[in-house]
Amino acid sequence: MEEKVKVRGLHKYFGDLEVLRGIDLDVYKGDVVCIIGPSGSGKSTFLRCLNMLEQPTHGEVTVDGYLLTKKHAQIDKIRQNIGMVFQQFNLFPHLSVLQNIMLSPVDCKLLTKTEAEDVARKLLARVGLAEKADEYPRQLSGGQQQRVAIARALAMNPDVMLFDEPTSALDPEMIGEVLAVMKDLAEDGMTMIIVTHEMKFARDVADRVIFMDGGVIVEDGSPMQIFDETKEDRTKKFLGMVM
């Protein structure tokens, strides 16, 4: 099986604070990996190290066979292949929905304007927002904005998608529509790494669940192994609190 993400001995310090304390991970093509864990355990930091939004202090990160942590890595080029979805959506408020999606493929010269518009409209239809193409992010609900953000990331035709708590900023009634889009993506074979507090989603959709605590991976297994059969006290305690 094709390895998409490989992490070896990853450490991250913020000043004196060691936030990631040696992480190893292998993710293969089509894997859907959910990362769960208590607040401050380093989940976001770990995810952000995978596309170099944070610079790892030690260790190696390889995505699609390309070593990101080497000196003079062509980081912009690699990132085109790694989509990221943020908790706060981070849509560009000065651009229409369509322009948000078209911006990067055109600016990075992956697509012409016409091609990009075509792709953008198809993706909007896929996330159920075809009729919102000409509106501005501000005019959309949170759930709609997050779906546009997913479409925007997909427009780069990435091999791997990273999600950092994509539903945590949403009103409860909008969580479902975003999870549905993600589930659709997972079924389509996208390789996904998702930091989430949605345990039901993790159980239903994930191939693997990773429990992080204190900057390390405490457990890594199938949803059943983590949610039903865990022998780790820390996992039990965490699951006891959130479920």
């Binding site: 912009d76 080029k77 981070n90 408020p93 600016d107 953000a149």
Partner: protein, 226 residues
């Protein structure tokens, strides 16, 4: 206090003077904007040398009165250049004035834009970078448009300040409106009427700028209500 007399005698020269005022203001603001943008990008650059250049420029402009700068550029600088490079070097009052006003407004605009850039959510840069756009392209396509929108009121404010600052340039003999007024009141002694009319010229233009500001802010609303 004979307004009719002042109107008949002085309006042509005052209007010409005001045209000069507006002309030098607009030209200076044009250069100041690019100067300010460059200084701002230098100031926020990772390269220390660029940051120092920007900081030195802003420090120099903020730390000296504009009148002194005007004298320096108009009289002092040409002397130096005549001595070192080109013996016939001269600047007109308009050129020297435009340089001084551009340098001044540029320094303040640099700070305005820096504030605007800092006011943009850092998540915007992260989103653009995570899509694979380079830092400079992200700046140009994502951060600057938002920073400019935020900066409009301050930029218009700076334009008003520059408009008023042109009166200082009358000190080096630029025939703008205050200069024309001084000449006229010297002959006619019509202080009240003349300076009232001058104030009205300025007020009219500042009002225009204020309208422009709210128009721009509305135009760049991006679906914001109200």
């Amino acid at each position: 206090m004979n307004f009719t007399r002042v109107f008949q005698e002085a309006i042509p020269s005052l209007a010409w003077g005001f045209l000069m005022t507006v002309e030098i203001t607009l030209i200076s603001l044009f250069f100041a904007f690019f100067l300010g943008l460059i200084a701002c990008l230098f100031n926020t650059s990772k390269k220390r040398a660029l940051r120092y250049i920007a900081k030195f420029y802003i420090w120099l402009v903020r730390g000296t009165p504009m009148l002194v700068q005007a004298m320096f550029i108009y009289l002092g600088l040409p002397q130096l250049i005549q001595l070192l490079i080109y013996p016939d070097f001269r600047l007109t009052a308009f050129q020297a004035g435009a340089i001084v006003l551009s340098l001044n407004a540029g320094a303040y605009i640099a700070e305005i834009l820096r504030g605007g850039i800092q006011a943009v959510d850092p998540g915007q840069m992260e989103a653009a970078r995570s899509l694979g756009m380079s830092k400079s392209r992200s700046m140009y396509k994502v951060i600057l448009p938002q920073a400019l929108r935020i900066s409009i009121p301050s930029l218009v404010n700076q334009s008003i300040i520059t408009l008023k600052d042109t009166s200082i340039i009358s000190a080096i003999g630029l025939a703008e409106i205050v200069y024309q007024a001084k000449i006229y009141v010297g002959k006619s002694m019509e202080f009240f009427a003349t300076y009232t009319i001058i104030a009205l010229f300025y007020l009219a233009f500042v009002t225009l700028l204020t309208w422009l500001s709210s128009y721009l802010e509305k135009r760049l609303n991006y679906g914001r209500k109200g």
